[in-house]
Symmetry: D3
Subunit: 333 residues, 6 copies
């Protein structure tokens, strides 16, 4: 069973899986070689030291490997470090990703099945076939199920892209139906594909960061390229429809300032922008509130990106119907 | 039956109701007094002249009266004008408002009933009683049913405020249910009350314009005053709840730049802002497209406030399923 | 007599009043209970520990109490802490507020009397009576005399709101008289009332912070509510005048970006905005210069909100009339 | 006596002074030469034609001359034009500038004397001597008394610069005295000199426009050059004081966006900016209201630069003390 | 030979080529059919009417055809119109494009050859082959030689894209050589390809306007698609290089606000942005000055997009070396 | 030979030149006086202590002196400090400036000679003589060769102003020649003079900072004053040319927001702005990349002013011609 780093206390005997983020060798004052590691899991990081059998153990793993470790936690210069007696590499299949990275609380496969169902509601055969091409592309779906939706602001955990995409598709369904004259097929397809470039924009296998092409091109253009790639396989996909669909990806940030080189120009693209922004904000604030509201406070910490505090009016939920208030009473007055 | 101004042609004999927007008296070259009127209805405006019986007729109506008019359309300096032989004041009850002002295409009473039903879903007794006070206030509901939601941008017709309010309440219902942990009672109440200050901000009985207090205070503060007024009648309305509810009204524009002196600080207030903005934009664009897309064009005229064109991809609706594309086909591949 | 925290040195025997900002109990390594306090006064904060008679003493005061304390300052891990031998609660009346919070250097009662005199110059009976209602409301005047005008930027000390209000009223008097055609009664009343919502926006009885309603509604709306509340008691206060007066409160920040949902629309409101902004800036810079100009420097530290340095050209004051410069001399040339 | 252009009616015999803004010669269908002039005065412009004695008259004046004209007003293609029978050049001394250009309503020499008195309050000998140099420079004072303060926004009439300067100096006096610790000498000198570059920035002898150096350099830099020029004549003017004084000119617009390459860095410079901005706005709005409030309206036309309407609450002045409101009454309640 | 529309005068007999922009049929008062055309060429537009042989002539051409026309110019309601006696369609090859559309003053084929030479300096084989693919694609080069670089602001004439591209490539050459360490191959390739999406963004065969995909996607994304398309044909084009090259296209507007979803992140991309912006502005201002500086004036008209006037200091060129200024003279002083 | 501070290790015997940035005297626990110094050189700073012969040594140097020091490096509270046994003042001529301040890597005198050559290309005698006046002013050229071009962003080292000026003049030459119709004399002169006010804006003899007049007036106005000063010596310098030249200095930042109170109004001024901005950015990014790209990374650290990362695609330079790609091959296809 996993022992989390931030649960380890002085003198604990530890046996668990960790990820090796750094690996350096040093020389002790007495001239012996030792290894100095940075071990991480989802809860934090700590230093590890290997003092004995250094040569043997050193070869059995590399930086960025997951490892099985045995050792004892000791205090050195006011910090805990792990004196390691045994260490060996383990395969990715043997570990639980959620032990190492923040992960969606929802079931990934279940969400994916629901998304497939939603996408089956699309009746336009071109759009329907386009989506199907994506679903049949296993190298894509594997990434799509795992990718976070962002590094910081919202759905910033494994599975976050899928969770956000499903949420947006469902929002698209219910909001489009509320109005007359919106093309549901188009909106639904665009909702599902709007952020797909994030599978390439972010790297998320050992830590969350932007990939080179993520920083240089961004998920909007990377997404358009993935869409274009599939459309090319569909030899009769209408040019106008292709242009329109790409317009959704391009404009979904809504404003130049927010990184969209075009603003939404159709009713459906306008709606996609609002729902996407709303879903991202709601999730982002919910994540923030979960971690950043001090016990007993109605106010969150200051959110640096949004430049404000958030208010958590818990009193509302505890508000009971006072005896003396009866709806009828009022009517009788 | 109403004869609309923009249907009148040279030499027509006209008998219909109009609204008198201006009334001046002049002197002809031969020294006689005549009256020069500006007559309007929902379709446009035209000049009217009274040459005979001037003194008698002049006393029978004033500027801003609805009048019954008989006369003949003649051409003068390339413009049509109406030589009036009979004119007399009619009461508001005798005319159809929709003949004179743009009006919602939906049924006002039906919308209002639906809104009442929606508001019955609120279970918090304080919020429920508060709404009830509004619904029981006939002088309010009369205005509320008639007011437009804005002068230009969206729902800019009689009944527009009610239409927008109902739409937003329905959006609140379906979107709040999509997420966990949002307080539906609060969001629903806020949706219903968010723009109520518009009954005072705009004047809309003879033309659409801003009232003095509308320009000086704006619908946000006017709305808060109406809410405060009702809350005072509910002697045990909790202070915290009152503050929170007013925060929704205050922050629903979302940004300082858009006239909100506070930004939304709760999940529900964030959602209200997005849905309100979305509903206003969707309606505004739909109204604009209806009038401003040239026959046969996929592009609207330039929208000066939004500083862009809108695209109307009608081809989508006519897109038939090509014979050779069968959804099953692809699945079988 | 008060001993200030930042004057306490190692081994001092201390007896003085402090405010208890935090109160926790802990267990020593030997298993005894102790209390750990955060004590503050206007000069700073320090840790206090109670090792003996813990149970008895613990009950005699709570967090946020003012206390009378006896103890000895000892050094622990490079920080001073107070080992407390006696502690007991004292009433607010027994302490000097100015020992605990920054306070205006002016005499509060004197300023208030001057403000009353200024307000007597108002000749419009409606406005005059309105102000009188405020002056007669003791629960209001008590807050009004004590409140700071802001948490950070200007007049950020007890009595600051009164000081700023009086200053603005005096500025209004002299500047309005400089022009023809400005309504002095209106400008004076608005000056006096413009920030009154700050008595509710900030909490300032144990520390300076924003209250819940301060954050959610802000002093502009809170002020309008207090004004509306008084106007309601004056049964014949003209509607137009009420709207206009509220417009001053609403617009006094001058721009949307600065939190005013309406921009000033009358000459007097334009002037109020400029004078208010000027008075706040002058005071804010004076406060900043007082603390943030290094000895011997002509330049202040960097002001983060204003994003600039300030220059203190002391040389000017020391500039004596050089002998060789005589005004007449020049004239004779 | 002056006959103003906008008072001229068809068939009037006209004899008056005008300014010739354009002068072209044409050929009639019958082959004769005629002159076509644009005549202007402060009230408007009209076309003038010379049909006879063309050669003689043509030589007696040029474009941009003031002329004495005799002729008859006739209607041609719905416009009035003046058939001129006599025209001859007059010298500038013979005309009244205020007949041709908008002019301050105040007495220029009186204002100038008051400004001299104000400037005598300056006790710092360097600053005092500097101002004296300006007052003794007749080529400067001639321009300074005549220049407008801007082309459009405020004090946009002959004498406007002097009027604005005097107003600002008086505001500086009363506002600086309100605070402790401001250097009045410096503020007063800066107030008087802050806009002096406008004598060069604008050209205002035949019409109001920007000069070449006005457009290329602006009044801020032009003013600094004029100040530097005088300071050079005062051989012992302190360098620090010179730098500081120029900083006032440079920073008086307050923000980069408003054309100041430096923001105000001393208390006095901050105050100068606010008072200058306030005086310009108050004058600008007063000018606008005078011309742009329709009869009977409380609202001005839309001000394109300020992007808003202004409110003129005339009701306030007519508000009489209602009998039933007695200040004592309230106290007795 | 071409007769230009703005040279046609009343009663002229006209025989020339025109473009038919509108074609309507009407009924005369006497019941006969006539055709009403809008004819345009590069100099302007005029109305044409066909009164006789209407049926025959009507079939011989359509809207948007180039036509050969014979007729007589007559005046009708103060406008000239052409009474057409003969009209017939001509093929595109028979007309001169430069008679109908603004066109570069430079030789298109010569510019293209120079560009080919410049592109031969690229030594990186991947980049070199990529460009060669474009040059070998005749359907592309045909568009590339003809397209304007924008609708309004700069190089807004046929051949403008090529002219701007060549200019930028030459600027890239000389500026990159000025610095150490810049990759010339990359910068040169990016310069040549940076705007290539404009061949699709604009439509320019009958008038200048944006195409559907131009408005919905913009030239940045359209350009990336064309580049991606060619890269796909080069099977071993390095991924990193492809990403980097696309980054240039994506970021060349420099700022989010100017439509680039990424800002330049390499030295070469930063340089490309500056040179592109400079070349566009220089050309745009030169075009503007050519048309919008009144005879004898040093100042252009007001440029609405740049919101300023431009200064044309012709005096500089006429400035002769004054006799008394000798460079040596000064040295001898 | 210089021993650099950041090369000093515990127990080193040190003998080298340093700059004394701070000098305080203290009292040891045993009652003896000691001196505490802050010593700096270009590599960093360290504390120095003088324990013996304090009175003698104390008098031999002051704060801001360069000194010759002998002593031993010891460790105290985890920091190195230098126990000084000998210290004595040295003259500026004896030290190497580049040991103490960052300095251009280019040869200052060589750059200056090149700039003189460039300036000899100017044929307009007025402009040529003006530059010559500057070159003959040794007190100016001494500053001009030494000054940095900014404190932070670009060319932030001694000689940086000269380096930037030369670079810009060369860019001006090659870019102006690329276009027709630009006045090279004017552009060249303006390039050379555009930043000359920086010799006064910054102080750079003991550390880099802004001077008082630098902060209060800025290099734009300071530069204009220096130019005006020289022009005054040239009695026949044309007024128009002087105005135009100053316009270049005033407008070279391009936008109000960037500190230019006028935007560029001539083609040459527009070009100067772009080239100046480009040269500053290229140098700034090159400096940043040199220090802020981690070993083995393609990405720089985050640049706080530019708010972005920079990409260093080293792979490009190592990209070898793959065997299978031969340029000829392709051409033969």
């Amino acid at each position: 069973m996993k022992t989390y780093i931030n649960d380890i206390k002085e003198n604990d005997q530890v046996e668990s899986h960790f990820l090796v983020k750094e690996k350096f060798s040093g020389i002790t004052k007495t001239g012996n070689t030792y290894l100095k590691l940075k071990l991480v899991d989802r809860s934090g990081e700590m230093e590890g030291r290997i003092w004995t059998l250094v040569e043997n153990l050193a070869e059995s793993f590399e930086k960025d490997d997951f490892v099985h470790v045995m050792g004892k936690a000791v205090s050195f210069q006011e910090h805990l470090q792990l004196n390691i007696t045994h260490i060996e590499r383990v395969k990715e299949e043997e570990i639980l990703f959620s032990d190492f990275f923040p992960m969606t609380e929802k079931d990934i496969d279940e969400m994916f099945q629901t998304l497939l169902e939603v996408s089956r509601q699309i009746r336009n055969p071109h759009l329907s076939r386009l989506l199907q091409l994506f679903w049949e592309d296993e190298s894509f779906t594997k990434l799509f199920k795992m990718a976070p939706a962002s590094k910081w602001l919202h759905h910033n955990y494994l599975g976050g892209l899928l969770e956000h995409t499903l949420s947006l598709a469902q929002l698209a369904l219910i909001n489009a139906s509320h109005y007359n004259g919106l093309n549901l097929d188009l909106l639904l397809t665009a909702s599902i594909l709007h952020d797909l470039g994030k599978v390439d924009e972010l790297s998320y296998h050992r830590s969350f960061d932007y990939s080179d092409e993520g920083r240089l091109l961004g998920h909007i253009v990377l997404g358009i390229e993935r869409v274009e790639d599939k459309i090319r396989q569909l030899h009769d996909f209408p040019k106008d429809l292709s242009t329109l669909l790409k317009h959704f990806l391009l404009s979904h940030h809504g404003q130049y300032m927010w990184g969209s080189p075009k603003r939404p120009m159709t009713l459906e693209a306008v709606m996609l922008h609002f729902l996407d922004d709303m879903d991202a904000k709601i999730n982002g604030i919910q994540q923030f509130i979960k971690r950043q509201v001090p016990e007993g406070s109605r106010w969150s910490a200051y959110h640096r990106t949004f430049e404000q505090y958030f208010y958590v009016p818990g009193f509302l939920d505890q508000m009971e119907t006072p005896d003396k208030i009866e709806k009828n009473e009022l009517e009788e007055e």
